[in-house]
Subunit: 540 residues, 2 copies
């Protein structure tokens, strides 16, 4: 059995090494057009920022180490230029010598990855992209010169990481994002703290902004402004690398990626595809999606090796979980966000909470902004997002696992999570989300969302302390502190009441109290904190 793998990073190399473990006798050839294989592409921004000091740390394996350990024939700077499915051969160009040769295969694994999307803007060729070690080398070389300012075009995960790291090097950094928020996998009120944190650390964040041209030394926006930019980094997204597959007549999917079945097999039974180039099946709808994440690339690479070795395997539909560090802040998300649910017309209910990362009486606790989306018909968890200084990745991982296990949002109330004061609370943030969802589901709680407040009917009652109210109030709110509400409820005008506190907890108590007194009351979900974040997002 001879297996050729096209692409020597993540999915491709996972397939090759796993296949060797399953089959000591297979002939395995990895063809990589770049100069490196098995490098830490997620580490590239941190190498530029200096957090990862040694370039060698990025190179997890070399062709030599892979030959020694796995007897894999790894050829870097060898580009496959054509697949001949009829003869089961590939045509390879050795980029060092220029020589072209043929290689036959019994099974072919495509892991060509994705290429950066490059907009049609004059001067854009001056912009760097950051996909591989050679890209990082070029940027590092540029940074070694007299570079004082940088513009990062694109405020997604990589763009935000790049902006942070260039800022850590002391550059004057502007992040330019076409959308009115950074990190579009998050909803706007969840992304607002990320933009704030970038600004706190001196990164200029230009939202709703678009590059018009990229002359030497600057980036000019479509609104006429010019931003200083000795260095320009472009990260507005990637497109699946499908040219080889397309030219070979393999089916592409509706999203423009390589179409694969549940065993990652393409429309040619001898050819598999994994990683950013291959389409995934969405866990919620079963539809084709593109999910350029390392976890799935590695997982599917391993799975393809199993399939080639004759095992019964089946890829799970993808939920998509991602996390990003933004200076000392963490933002993470899993599943669908509210924007996407709304656009798809999928029924959902949102909850926002701001629990402590661990017990408040133990030093170092900070608030986590946590949002959970669920289907009100069956309480299925549709997605979650979290932002905070600590414990964010843990809570998103727990919810992602709950989704994989088919737990409902109410089941989160019953999770037994590890509690000691440095790690969590007896009622963990995830449990709290379950309590809130349960209350909404059985009608105990009624909430209004931050974006529904404008023009909502009713008297707005702030149940925080007078000091909190004085510091920052929602316009038009009457202030009656929760602990006085029982005695002073008669002061409230007739009709519907909208109560709110800082994060939603006292508001819930107030809503229950007023309901118990026969009043119609709803609680502002997530309290002032979520409202203010949402407002800051929409004002930006």
């Amino acid at each position: 059995m001879k297996v050729i793998v096209i692409g020597g990073v993540a999915g491709g190399m996972s397939a090759a090494t796993r296949l060797r473990r399953l089959d000591e006798r297979a002939e395995i050839v990895v063809l990589e057009r770049g100069a490196h294989v098995s490098y830490a592409n997620c580490g590239l921004p941190y190498y530029l920022g200096g957090t990862i000091e040694e370039r060698d740390a990025l190179l997890l394996q070399t062709p030599e180490s892979l030959a020694a350990r796995f007897r894999i024939d790894v050829r870097v700077r060898n580009e496959v230029v054509r697949i001949d499915r009829a003869s089961r051969t590939v045509e390879v160009r050795d980029l060092t010598t220029g020589r072209t040769y043929e290689e036959s295969y019994d099974r072919l694994v495509l892991s060509p990855g994705a290429r950066p999307f490059v907009p049609d803007v004059p001067g854009i060729e001056r912009a760097h992209t950051l996909r591989d070690v050679s890209d990082a080398d070029r940027i590092a070389e540029a940074l070694a010169g007299d570079v004082r300012s940088a513009v990062v075009i694109g405020g997604g995960f990589i763009g935000v990481e790049a902006a942070e790291n260039l800022r850590e090097r002391g550059l004057d950094v502007t992040l330019v994002e076409l959308a009115d928020q950074v990190l579009t996998p998050l909803d706007p009120e969840m992304a607002a703290p990320v933009a704030d944190r970038l600004r706190t650390h001196g990164v200029r964040v230009e939202l709703g902004a678009q590059a018009a041209k990229v002359p030497a030394g600057s980036v000019e926006l479509t609104d006429g402004r010019s931003l200083p930019a000795d260095l320009v980094l472009l990260s507005i997204g990637v497109r699946p690398e499908t040219s080889l597959a397309r030219d070979a007549g393999l089916d592409l999917g509706p999203r423009g990626g390589i179409a694969v079945d549940e065993t990652q097999r393409t429309s040619d039974p001898d050819i598999y595809a994994v990683g950013d180039a291959a389409e995934k099946r969405d866990a919620l709808t079963g539809e084709s999606v593109l999910v350029p994440l390392a976890n799935l690339a590695n997982r599917h690479g391993r799975l393809v090796a199993d399939a080639i070795a004759g095992r019964e395997v089946r890829a799970r539909a993808a939920t998509s979980t991602a996390v990003v560090q933004v200076f000392d802040l963490t933002a993470a998300a899993t599943g669908w966000n509210e924007k996407r649910l709304r656009a798809a017309g999928h029924p959902y209910q949102a909850i926002h909470l701001h629990p402590g990362s661990h017990a408040g009486y133990y030093p170092g606790a900070s608030l986590i902004a946590l949002k959970v989306l669920f289907d009100p018909r069956d309480q299925r968890i549709l997605g979650a997002q979290a932002v905070g200084d600590d414990g964010v990745d843990k809570r998103i991982d727990v919810i992602a696992t709950a989704m994989a296990g088919g737990l409902t949002v109410c089941d989160l109330a019953d999770l037994e999570l590890a509690y000691a004061p440095p790690y969590g609370s007896a009622k963990d943030p995830v449990n709290m989300a379950g309590f809130i969802a349960e209350n909404l589901t059985n009608g105990t709680a009624r909430t209004v969302q931050w974006h529904e407040l404008d023009g909502a009917e009713g008297t707005l009652v702030d149940v925080r302390s007078p000091a909190e109210h004085a510091a920052d109030a929602i316009p038009g709110a009457v202030n009656i502190p929760l602990d006085e509400l029982r005695d002073r409820a008669a002061e409230l005008p007739e009709g519907k009441l909208i109560v709110h506190c800082q994060v939603g907890l006292r508001g819930h108590n107030a809503q229950r109290l007023l309901t118990g007194l026969g009043r119609e009351a709803v609680n502002l979900d997530g309290g002032y904190a979520t409202w203010a974040a949402g407002r800051s997002a929409t004002a930006a």
Copy 2:
């Protein structure tokens, strides 16, 4: 409706406050024999150590704050001395005035907690216990005097926390534990690093040791040794506080706690019980168990309020998840451990791995020792344990959630967990556990456990580097580095081969390679690291 709650911490107060939110008109009386309610009992060790600086931080609520916010009649230093079920009254002694009075109820909630187990040892009355704020006050007062040495009797979670905190104050601390390991919820090879870490920080750890008497200034062990002990802290476990329930004729369960049904109702339909005093149903077997953990106490308190308010509720069976900080180390566990599975004759398979807390190329990664136990018949996850400097609580929470969701151990391979270099790896430790389990399940991997190595048939082959082998080797092992194994396999004697590396990963590759060459080979599960930890545990 008048509801009396006996016990004003955790479960009791959760029941009282939740009930108020559900019923504005109920009369709610909380009777607490101690001087405080709603205090942070899990924070007490950290108050003694000075990490929590202010005593007030421990007092989360006061009778006054609970009256103002929830209109709950909270009476501290009021001890219920008798329950009269026929008349639905309780007899209460006001410990301040000595006055005794009666209080009627429609529903009664028992949340009396547990009391420390005190062994019958001369002088033991000199030992402090640490269950409430008054205990902490007494110890703090003692520590304000000339206290230089302390003995902590009992190496469970609280004992370890107490030892750490007393050591942090600069005391000469000895931890005395009857078992041959600390933290008995962990298996010995997982607990060994905890004892090591305590010793590294200057705590003397005496395992297999028992106090014989506690004279002034010391603790004498049964082996005749005397340990300096200006202060003695006793934490060898707790017993459910059941005297009231028993005297009232309520059914106790097989473990000596108050028997309750799935709605936390006792054998008297008007009386509920929650917290450390009530028995729980074990998630694996359905048997009655005692689980003195805050998460369940709070959860069940809330559930009882729902039940009293007429809602359909049902407590989930308990998995038991716990975590402890030991200086800069974290140890956590969920579900059953190997000792318990073996003792119960439950079929299981163990896996040990030592993945990085996050991507190795990003600074600050450390190894996590992770153990997962599963049922080889259906791959049900039975339990997990983890020890390490970072990311331990996250992985145990994820596995606890997977257990709650009914995922198999192989399903862990497919979890989409949040990955960026500071948080994890593209193949997260939990994914790795899934890969290993999958390999064991389908026969790809074959392992031998650390405790099976002695006397196991076969040639032991260390596939680590010569430098690693020279530094620390298992007696009798031949050293052939993995990258030379393919070429040098012929050097190995005939017969069965037992391969091992440092943590199990290279060993797996070696086992696959040798199997591919037609040899019979097994891999030492968890590698040298697990073997050494197990050996250190059994040698102690």
